[in-house]
Symmetry: C2
Subunit: 159 residues, 2 copies
Amino acid sequence: MPGRVTHERLMREALHLAEENVQDGGGPFGAVVAKDGDLLARGANRVTPAADPTAHAEIVAIRRACQALDDFSLDGCALYASCEPCPMCLGAVYWARLDALYYAATQDDAARAGFDDAFIYDELATPPTERQLRTEHMMAEKGKRPFETWRAHEGRVEY
Amino acid sequence: MPGRVTHERLMREALHLAEENVQDGGGPFGAVVAKDGDLLARGANRVTPAADPTAHAEIVAIRRACQALDDFSLDGCALYASCEPCPMCLGAVYWARLDALYYAATQDDAARAGFDDAFIYDELATPPTERQLRTEHMMAEKGKRPFETWRAHEGRVEY
């Protein structure tokens, strides 16, 4: 297991990426993915310059780490994020099967800087049709068919 | 506002993408983004073939719609997803500022096909240090600095 010095070195890199990214036209967020204490991939928030609302630092770092390993699983890896992840990024952490998450700034720090994801956390905890987001469940029976096709498909790669 | 016939046509396209994607080596999920009833972008789940855990159908469709509009905001657009979005994709729906979400299959349908995101929803609703994911808050003071740099940066693009 990586020790305290390694954790701090990796977090300092995530924070450096966040600082540098502000000057580079992006948001104040950075992240790195590491395996056994070795840096695998870096990411910074490129939402506005890349016109991509999913280009949060954590998502960028996770995608690059997966490219580096040519694997959709980051089992055995850790994510170091300059700030506590939003629900989108935290969801990605689970889908990527990361072993551990380290973060420095909190949701409250981010909210004070104008990045408030408390609303999103609240919405996710609300039943779909009661959310502020207009949401409609439709074609419920036809919706099951892709799963039937999936279960019948012998070449499927489960994950 | 698009009427019922338009909603069903767009959802049928999302379901067609999901079915087709199974034969094409991906997962049984499809999504489209539309504006005023016109299709803007398509997406299908490419997690295993692209080795990208974030390549869910909704994320792929959102990124492509943003590229098509050259805008990080999909204000005025709607997402049609073959299945109720996972927390990662639902977070992306909010960040993309989509106006509406339509879905066909439910979380329960997905779980029966082996795609269980209830665990992720539960984890997100749990305080960070009590989650099953190993999580550590560190370097709290240094973590605030990127936000100070951001607030002092006159050229910042807020979103």
